[in-house]
Subunit: 216 residues, 2 copies
Amino acid sequence: MNPTITAFELSPDRGRGLARDMRVRWALEEAGQRYDVRLLSFSAMKEPAHRARHPFGQIPTYEDGDLALFESGAIVLHIAESHAGLLPPDPVARARAISWMFAALNTVEPPILDLQTVLFLERDKSWFEERRAMVKDAIRRRLAELSGHLRDADWLDGGFSAGDLLMVSVLLRVRAAGILDEYPNLAAYVARGEARPAYQRAFAAQLAVFTAASGG
Amino acid sequence: MNPTITAFELSPDRGRGLARDMRVRWALEEAGQRYDVRLLSFSAMKEPAHRARHPFGQIPTYEDGDLALFESGAIVLHIAESHAGLLPPDPVARARAISWMFAALNTVEPPILDLQTVLFLERDKSWFEERRAMVKDAIRRRLAELSGHLRDADWLDGGFSAGDLLMVSVLLRVRAAGILDEYPNLAAYVARGEARPAYQRAFAAQLAVFTAASGG
């Protein structure tokens, strides 16, 4: 039996790989683990059957026998702990990689989520332009610090890890706003992530869902 | 040798236990692990010596021999993995507890951080009242879902875990805004966390730093 994940039946990003199932698909591909996908409509995500799997009514979830997980960060960590290739075996290096997983989700992603709030919910507000500029500057502060850490290294801390997987995934969400390209080493870092065969397989799989659902 | 953590020399919350070193102190107290504290001024946090420990120039960090970690979530997870009492031994229950750690930091905390942005950076803006109401409603949506999951249970998923430790810590940040009390079972849940002897020792330790530094 393969594990089963959930994903959007019709992703709001039109298959650009920004929905959070992409992080789990990518981790599963890096780990060489086949998986099944159950697609959910927006209304099905809020129904009790899915709430029992995900208390906040979101995707992705992960089910494998008795195990039922939610939160993409936790699922990626679980996959990384139970397969080779996403966390280094050395305990110190492993703990460092996990620091980067949390940094991606709790330090770098929050202002990026805030920019999405501005773009999707505040576009018609009088304050739209000023708030967007403020949030972009908050993102720039984080990216400048990240860029200063990365310098000319390929990955954040030694070899590619689940920390890089989550950081690249988070940074991809800000590329369309044009901010990523202000930091050439970060843009190259994200491109290195996207060039990985596992990323490409995951991206193709989630895009195929959108293409099929939209009849495109 | 005890591990060493870093904390604010003069906490912006005036010792109310909302700074992120509190999460690590609480975890160390639950684990029965003694620790040393190195206090940092705001300017020292941004200097190269601290940046080498924390790429984003924040607190807390955690040093134990060869190991140097940052991000409170990662530090709490490391403590939980290397001591008894914060993660259940059963693998399925352990992975569930870790899901709740990520839910606290990546699903519940982002809108709460956004409210802090409104309160600290947008109070003089024309949009302050309207934005504050919008962000409070975004927090309420998360808290309603969390309240619906918790019902009348003591903790989120079986016994107290690192997931509860982080969730209680995140919820404490919104209590002053009056939103927590709209969900009586969540208010009682937070109070159960605060009543734990380990929480109280950690709270007293971080308050003592502020009291000493402010001459109070």
